[in-house]
């Protein structure tokens, strides 16, 4: 191949073509379910389901033989970081739901849950960003 840079540029341009063609302007963007929650347990629930949905799509991308190996590896790395934080979130939200009615227990469980949500949000967002990476 005498002009590898030109070929690479062509490949990148064509890879981006479908994503650019389907570009949606603000207002039609991918929705964030967590913003719809009003309580801490609803936020946790939204984050768990959103993560499940993101993982399902990531699996479809990984299954496709046309997906570059580097993207598959990056998705794998992001999942290995995100899943443990989501498992911790599940433990925290279970404890919150089962917390006794005494205010002190409830407050402590809510604090733990808020910390678990904060810890899980960034790794989940990173995996979502990788799934969306080719869009822009």
């Amino acid at each position: 191949m005498r002009h590898p840079l030109r070929v690479l540029a062509l490949a990148l341009m064509l890879s981006a073509t479908p994503a650019c063609a389907s570009l949606q302007w603000p207002g039609a963007a991918i929705e964030n379910p967590i913003d719809a929650a009003r309580t801490v347990d609803q936020r946790a629930y939204a984050l768990l389901h959103a993560y499940g949905a993101i993982l399902e799509e990531a699996a479809d991308i990984v299954r496709d033989p046309a997906t570059p190996l580097t993207l598959k590896r990056a998705l794998g790395q992001a999942e290995r970081v995100a899943t443990p934080t989501v498992e911790t979130l599940q433990i925290a939200v279970t404890a919150y739901i089962r917390a006794s009615e005494t205010p002190d227990d409830r407050i402590a469980a809510a604090n733990t849950l808020n910390a678990a949500i904060a810890a899980a949000e960034a790794p989940v967002a990173e995996l979502q960003a990788l799934v969306r990476a080719r869009r822009s």
């Binding site: 490949a11 073509t17 991918i30 347990d41 990984v62 598959k72």
Partner: protein, 104 residues
Amino acid sequence: MSNLMLQVQLLLAALSALLPLVPDEHRDRAAEILDLAARALAAGGVVRVNLDDLAAKLADVRREVEAMAAAGRAVSADELDAAMVRVRSASAAFRTALAEAGAG
């Protein structure tokens, strides 16, 4: 969107049909480039389809959470279990796919 994709694919097909007109010394390179272009286009298409699916799934979750919030209802233990079953199942499927793709 699909119109544009179709046009690009037709363009590639048309260019491929012209390959015999390319001088012998450049024909292999031209074929190589067209093949690469087709692969890149296919990869981009897969990502687009998955983005559409993801947007629909996240919109479903949002609707469910909005209804919960509007009713002022707390998450039940059963709902929580269902969410975790989804996460565990998706995580297992993802890791299997990754291993099968040789990227694990």
